[in-house]
Point group: C2
């Protein structure tokens, strides 16, 4: 196999931190401020993106442990730990004598934020993005409806702050996109449903990647603030139907923007 040398991996370790965490924005204290990814983490990232990009197709069997580890210039321990990570996410499965094989796509845990990141590391699949937005168009309006019923004053306050931050920074900046994520996250939290909050990590990641992709075209088709404000007011006033409706059009418009950007870029 044509393998890039280890330098590629080692370099990715130090480079990933500066790329993901810009100096300007200091993340929350609870966030993993682990600066550098470890070797097995970088390996998992490398192999994960290779699998998600189709470089290894489902059913393929990877080279043996000793051979592959040597080829990647890492010890068997580090390689095995990386494989355990991929196995935990349903990407591969190892059996003695049979080797390590890539599992069929249905087993992949695509809702895992890390897997989602790997999926968007290369060229995103248009059909998959459409599916993700369809899922959003189901989840988020329903979440907005629940939030309109159950939101506390604190929830509303967080939403207002996030919306204000969006207004200040706009979606062209990282801070603005973070505020957008906080806004949607606050709504899902306001549902009081723990399973919903967990989904927010996945959906939030999807929104993050698609929004970032949208920015590649250097074009802002529309001002998203009014849509968000409409959702916020409906939730704050406790109007469940209006909240669901407003969130529905918000997601639809976001899909429209993203799709036009992808078509423009794809063709």
């Amino acid at each position: 196999m044509h393998q890039e040398d280890l330098q590629d991996v080692t370099e990715a370790v130090t480079e990933t931190q500066s790329e993901r965490q810009p100096k300007g924005s200091d993340e929350r204290k609870t966030m993993t401020r682990g600066p550098g990814r470890r070797l097995h983490g970088a390996l998992a990232h490398k192999l994960g993106t290779a699998i998600l990009s189709g470089q290894y197709a489902p059913g393929d069997v990877l080279p043996g442990e000793v051979a592959f580890a040597e080829e990647l210039k890492v010890s068997r321990s580090a390689y095995r730990e990386a494989i355990q990570v991929l196995a935990a996410k349903g990407l591969v499965a190892s059996r003695p004598k049979a080797g390590t094989r890539v599992l069929p796509r249905e087993r992949w845990n695509l809702l895992d934020p890390e897997v989602l990141a790997w999926a968007f590391a290369g060229e995103p699949d248009v059909a998959f993005v459409r599916d993700l937005f369809e899922l959003r168009s189901i989840i988020e309006p329903a979440a907005a409806r629940l939030a309109a019923h159950r939101r506390t004053k604190d929830d509303v306050r967080v939403m207002r702050e996030a919306l204000a931050a969006m207004r200040r920074h706009t979606l062209t900046t990282d801070a603005g996109r973070a505020a957008d994520r906080d806004f949607h996250d606050a709504i899902l939290r306001a549902t009081g449903n723990h399973a919903m909050v967990v989904l927010s990590a996945s959906i939030g990641a999807a929104v993050h990647w698609t929004t970032q992709f949208k920015q590649r075209t250097r074009e802002l088709p529309r001002n998203p603030i009014p849509d968000h404000a409409r959702v916020l007011e409906a939730i704050a006033s406790g109007d469940a139907d209006a909240a669901a409706e407003a969130m529905g059009v918000l997601v639809d418009l976001a899909l429209e923007d993203t799709r036009s950007s992808m078509e423009r870029s794809g063709d």
Copy 2:
């Protein structure tokens, strides 16, 4: 390459996913590993259930590698690989000098089928089960609506077969519960939405565990077949509104049954 062996892999993995120990022997240790379950997998199961059951609370730091591995009578390699699995699922995070800490619940990947299984290994949290059913009541009617639009003849055939199997075995048997899962799975697949199919793995697992829990009370409150049949007919005839409606009542009734069972068992 060896494409003919792919079937073997899928089969083996599917088998591993389902519970591998029909004998309820030695429930205390939960580390009894049989064929197909490696030591680090069993360790991850043991530690995962310990965390999910609250034995290790978020923020807790568990003993050092050497000490804990020795206490568990395993090598550090096996222990570390188990930790990598837990870390990949967002349950823990390890840092030099700081040790391995249990992450806050928000970062747990509760939609991971394996994590879900760990959550239901002990006494399930009533609030969490309610949240899961609320999520189902959002996802599944919407899925049924989409399925009514997009289902193929093949999808309908699979649903009919699953329903027939449910009729034959009833939910008291493993085969019946598997058929129930196949039924819901077929609907989510019929949406043609890949993200939805991925969710089916999570939701299916949740349904599996709650249904099994329902059976502990040795009581069959209601015959679920008519509800399922109503959903099936609505989807087959392409009536989206009726499909969503029928699926809504199905989930509501299932929640009602489960909740009454849990209250009875809890008190």
